[in-house]
């Protein structure tokens, strides 16, 4: 990528970060709350995108990493009264560790088999949460105690602190993602996605790099889950269910797999699609379905993917 184009790319991403910061002060309360939630969930999608979009690892089990972060942080608060930052670190670490273990086993497979194996692992994690209901409060879940929703004396349940913490996390994940895909490690991931055999023949240890990608992906997904629990105050098994694995895939596909901005655009688009459709009809899922089918037919590379194909070929 030429230096001038790269400068424009950096400006675009920093511009988005700046706009999101400014929106905290101008958006109506409802939309500000929505955007806070979307930013945190977009971090989950960014994590998923590193595995799926850039490395070609189609996982149907990423909810286990999101759930590991959610429960890792939430349980630290519930049982040990840990404050927000250490609890978030524990949650993120739990997700990274789980990704390392799952990756070491699941990456012995590829393609459809990998998809099914990750799905099975995620189901095992979900059932484990239910099984240890005395600790996890099972399917009911629990409310995160106030002590864990405090960061340096700031109450994270308040509107502006919550938004700004979500913004910091999102900005960090977005810029990390942008850096990663341009770094040598990220380029090898793309090479693996395009042709793993060729990457291996070039001398790269693709197995280790895929494991590395999955651990990074799992850690980012868990960072999102941990932040979600701490910012929004609830930890529940439904977040570790299969539908939250599908959500991540959906958001990334809609926004554009293998694009840095795609996960955010996809998450935002999906939220407002559902939110606006509910105001039109009770059969809002029908509207959502039709729009998704249309998008799949006419923009198969996702929204940002189409922008890259038609307008800006160097967009990462």
């Amino acid at each position: 990528m030429r230096g001038k184009t790269w400068g424009a790319v950096v400006a675009l991403h920093l511009g988005l970060v700046a706009v999101l910061f400014a929106l905290n002060f101008v958006l109506p309360v409802y939309h500000q709350g929505v955007l806070a939630r979307v930013m945190v969930l977009a971090v989950y999608a960014i994590g998923y995108n590193i595995a799926f979009g850039y490395t070609g690892l189609l996982s149907l089990g990423h909810a286990m990493f999101f759930g590991a972060g959610l429960y890792g942080a939430g349980l630290m608060g519930l049982h040990f009264g840990m404050s927000a930052l250490p609890a978030w670190l524990v949650g993120t670490g739990a997700g990274a560790l789980l990704a390392l273990v799952v990756g070491a086993l699941a990456l012995r497979t590829a393609g459809v088999s990998f998809m099914i194996v990750t799905l099975m692992f995620a189901q095992a994690v979900y059932l484990t949460i239910l099984y240890f209901g005395d600790i996890t409060h099972g399917d009911d879940g629990f409310v995160v105690p106030g002590v864990s929703r405090t960061l340096a004396g700031i109450d994270l349940s308040q509107q502006h602190p919550r938004y700004l913490v979500g913004w910091v996390l999102f900005s960090a994940a977005l810029l990390f993602s942008l850096w990663l895909v341009r770094a040598p490690f990220g380029r090898v991931l793309v090479a693996i996605r395009e042709n793993e055999e060729r990457a291996r023949l070039l001398g790269y240890d693709t197995g280790r790099r895929k494991l590395g990608a999955l651990v990074i992906s799992g850690a980012i997904s868990a960072a999102s889950g941990a932040a979600y629990g701490l910012l929004f105050g609830y930890v529940g098994a439904s977040f570790a269910g299969v539908q939250y694995s599908i959500f991540a895939l959906l958001w990334v596909l809609l926004g554009g797999a293998g694009t840095v901005l795609g996960p955010f655009v996809g998450t935002l688009f999906m939220f407002y699609l559902i939110d606006l459709a509910t105001g039109v009809t009770d059969a809002y899922m029908l509207i959502a379905g039709v729009v998704l089918v249309g998008l799949t037919l006419f923009a198969p590379q996702g929204i940002v993917g189409e922008v890259r194909r038609r307008l800006w070929r160097d967009l990462p």
Binding site: V34, D140, S157, G233, Y234
Partner: protein, 437 residues
């Protein structure tokens, strides 16, 4: 293209007004003056705007059958309330949003109620995980949140001052109230069969000590994973000396469960007691359920019209639109969730009473509304409380009411015993009134 008003103004500013312009201005002024009475009427309408109640409906997801009937009951209750003059002279509107029976969406729906739909309060959530997921947002938004959930999460102290459950009893009082009937009437040795997750644990943890206190014994606890679709391998685990089977299976596999239990025991079965949650919205004449004849069920409110039903119960059923079998009057196959949905009716009447006691005028009075409801105690049976006489505990934000034990007789549920609310009370586990708003 036409000139914009701003363009015209900027052009006119440099010149004196013409006679035509002056006449136009005068005419406009006269027109504006003529609308003054309309303005005052509009100002009056501001205070008479409808009260808006946000209803988080389980329209999709696992709770859809409940959501459909919760909405019908709520619409019927508000029609009655509005016909009787509304609340503080204002009509009441229901603003319905699907929460997908999902805790994340439920929290978003509360945000929408509070800041988009301009609702005065939120109401109506049933499933425990949805309530627990949404309640923290209710407190953050300072939005009164009236749940109709029957979970113990409110009275356990897990939630907050803005969340109340004044219209339906909780599972702890329901379960403990059943123990004396089980041990005194059906048998001393009880085997429990329950789903291996939160709902089942509520029953396991509350019934076991209650049975012991009532002089009985739980001889086995059989937890069945929620993913199970066949149950034959579990029935041999039932001890041979079991006198009563207590079952609370829920979900689509419940019909299989009952059918396989019937095949296992044949004609010589122990006494069987279940919670109607297993068969809410399910027709008791469904194939395979014949085995339930002569067994007993807990009901929050009788599904079938009882011979001795008072007039206010009949009026409630007519208003909601259920026939003598507890099914929709417009579709006999559409069986209601009668054991739970009365909670919506009663909660809306409590909201009315609370708003009137607090002289509720606007969202500024939300805190006063909570305090007014917390001050409530006895709720006599009648048109506002057709399920029966209750007592509300303002400290725990939980109501206590009668529990019904019905026997399946000729394919219908006939009430065999009623437990009054006095026998369902348990010590307080929290005092929400000491918490700040």
């Amino acid at each position: 293209m036409t000139d914009t008003p701003s363009k015209r103004l900027s052009g006119a500013s440099s010149a004196l007004p013409t006679r035509r312009q002056a006449l136009k201005t005068l005419a406009a002024g006269a027109g504006a003056a003529a609308t003054m009475p309309l303005w005052s009427r509009y100002a009056g309408a501001q205070s008479a705007e409808p009260i808006r109640i946000g209803f988080g409906k389980h329209a999709t997801g696992i709770g859809a059958a409940y959501g459909r009937w919760y909405e019908r009951t709520s619409v019927a209750a508000l029609a009655k309330i509005n016909a009787e003059g509304g609340i503080n002279g204002r009509q009441v509107e229901l603003v319905t949003e699907d929460d997908g029976t999902d805790p994340k969406r439920a929290a978003e729906v509360l945000e929408k109620f509070a800041s988009q739909s301009k609702c005065d309060i939120a109401f109506g959530t049933l499933f425990s995980h949805v309530v627990i997921g949404a309640a923290p947002r209710a407190a953050e938004l300072k939005l009164p949140y009236f749940v109709v959930s029957e979970g113990h999460h409110v009275a356990s102290g897990m939630l907050n001052r803005w969340t109340l459950q004044p219209g339906i009893t909780d599972v702890k009082s329901q379960v403990t109230a059943m123990a004396p009937f089980l041990t005194n009437t059906l048998g001393k040795k009880v085997t429990m069969i329950y789903p291996d997750y939160g709902f089942g644990y509520d029953h396991r943890d509350n019934l076991t000590p209650a049975i012991t206190a009532a002089g009985g014994e739980v001889v086995a606890q059989i937890a069945i994973p929620p993913t199970e679709t066949s149950f034959t391998k579990y029935f041999p685990k039932i001890p041979r000396d079991t006198e009563v089977i207590y079952h609370v299976m829920v979900g689509p596999a419940v019909l299989t469960f009952v059918k396989e239990m019937g095949e296992f025991f044949g004609p010589s079965r122990p006494e069987i007691f279940g919670f109607i949650d297993s068969l809410e919205a399910v027709d008791l004449s469904s194939p395979g359920l014949e085995f339930l004849e002569g067994t007993y069920f807990w009901e929050g409110m009788p599904r079938y019209l009882q011979d001795d039903a008072p007039d206010y119960v009949k009026a409630y059923r007519d208003a909601v639109g259920i026939d003598a079998n507890g099914a929709s009057t417009s579709d006999g196959a559409d069986v209601s969730t009668a054991a739970h949905m009365f909670g919506c009716w009663e909660t809306l009447h409590i909201i009315k009473a609370g708003m009137e006691a607090a002289d509720y005028k606007s969202t500024d009075d939300r805190q006063a509304l909570i305090e007014a409801v917390e001050a409530m105690t006895d709720m006599p049976a009648g048109p506002d409380h057709p399920q029966g006489a209750k007592r509300f505990n303002g400290k725990t934000h939980q109501v206590f009411g009668p529990q019904y034990i019905s026997k399946v007789t000729d394919g219908k549920l006939v009430v065999a015993e009623t437990v009054d609310y006095e026998d369902t009370l348990y010590p307080d586990e929290v005092d929400y009134t000491t918490m700040s708003f």
